[in-house]
Assembly symmetry: C2
Homo-oligomer: 341 residues x 2
Amino acid sequence: MQNITVALDAMGGDFGPRVTVPAAVQALSHFPELKVILIGDQSQITSQLSSLGFQTNSRLSIQHTDRVISNSEKPSLALRNSQGSSMGTAIELVADNQADACVSCGNTGALMALSRFKLKLLPGIERPALISALPTASGGRTWMLDLGANVSSDADSLFQFAVMGSALAEQYLQRPPRVAILNIGAEEIKGNDLVKRCAEMLSQTKSVNFVGYIEGNQLLHDAADVVVCDGFVGNVCLKACEGTAQIFIDKLKSHMMASSIKGWIARKLLSSLFNELKTLNPDQYNGASLLGLRGIVIKSHGSADVDAVINAIGEALHEVQRQVPNRISDRLEAVLLERHY
Amino acid sequence: MQNITVALDAMGGDFGPRVTVPAAVQALSHFPELKVILIGDQSQITSQLSSLGFQTNSRLSIQHTDRVISNSEKPSLALRNSQGSSMGTAIELVADNQADACVSCGNTGALMALSRFKLKLLPGIERPALISALPTASGGRTWMLDLGANVSSDADSLFQFAVMGSALAEQYLQRPPRVAILNIGAEEIKGNDLVKRCAEMLSQTKSVNFVGYIEGNQLLHDAADVVVCDGFVGNVCLKACEGTAQIFIDKLKSHMMASSIKGWIARKLLSSLFNELKTLNPDQYNGASLLGLRGIVIKSHGSADVDAVINAIGEALHEVQRQVPNRISDRLEAVLLERHY
């Protein structure tokens, strides 16, 4: 079994080492092939490790840094001041081949800018994209991109998102994924110039299995394996799904928590439904991936808890094992060849 | 009590007169001030009326037309061929002051193009917008626009949407509505040029109570009374909420429908929860309004059932009673005055 080293930005996110350190420790027992480098303030990390009765060893090391990129820091500023930051150092370890992937719960814009600068883009890619898997009502999943790495995109970028998403999803599905564009209607005449131009490009590309447009209400209905959209649209849309799901879960929960006899019966009766519904919250899959880079970078929610960070580390392992950046390069080459000959 | 005449496009939508005719008949008994003109194929409408044991009277008349604008018809084509169509005629009745409002379940793009052409825009408005109220978790509602009348917008249009939405919501809330812009983050640095420019304009306008950005997951959480966004974003986002809500409602329903003793208890126990959750589906409020026109035009879902069309007719009545186009004009004038002096 090949060891896989993950550089974990221990300081990022709403909770920093209080969440990232226990997540790293638990991830080591979940994934026997895993090694973790915890990057951040040595004393804070050591203190968290001690409180867990744990210390550094051959699979868990600390790399000290004394700067944290805040959530409100502009990407341009983060880029200038990345030297010695936990996030910047995590990405550098990947660039220097000292780690196979990096995971951060920190500032998305900064993570994207630093990754792009330090790791560089794959040939043929103009912009990286943030992708994540959403659960579907039938128990499957649908990958969606871009989820906000870019605030605006042109048709070429959207096309590249489709190629990258398709390459990633195929590694999981082991079949050509159905790729759709998110639009305001399913009919061909619907939409803005951006989606129309991208649809035209995709329908002429044999190496992508383009199935047309889908609407927002089809997102969790297994209508496609990969859904492509502009980063602004993807971000608000995913969060809209998450917000709606959370309201329904909360309402059901408060019904089950009632102290009456009714509450007691509801708890007995509804626990399986409750667990099923929880798995339908798109929020459950933590670990969005930044695609298009010469390296693997996983973005965890800022508010992620220990389990969620473990999921993000698991996603990093999967992508290393499947060599996702290479698979994307292969697919891009196939598309280029198809266009030239 | 003043009579209010609604011109109902009887042919639009997925079901045509099978839904619109019973909806009109029931709406007449719901709303004593209502008069309805059913516009469409006379024989189909008459046959539906007969099957309900009903006939035309002083409150219910038929205006025969023999053309229907299909859902796949491009707005530009619909515009050229609107003569003698049920939708075109319904809008003309409003333009000619023979009706106070029109309601259609038909093609949104065509409804918007025909309304704009036949009714004209209010002074100071460059594009109409589609607005609808979404239910919130706390039992309130949030108005959202644009929901897809436009596939792209500039900052001036978005600003006008904010002014129009604010004027409409104030008629219901009787206080200055909190107006927010939908964005990919709540911080000032987040977002694309469009939302940033609109935010700048709104923060300089005293006659709109601008409260900043909200994210997609805050949509149903009563974070604002009016949420402003581009029509593409609004459409996919609203549908994403609807699709997610529907999945949760369906899962709960199938749990309650189980034929076992568990199903029986679940039905007894969960009916109140089920009804509460149903009211949280944004889909429940049928009747989006086209704002910015010199007349009242209500767009119903194409798949609306009888109750939903009655709701859309109810929305038309409310807007007539509140003279919404005049309120929007007043507000626009106030904004213009503020900018000039």
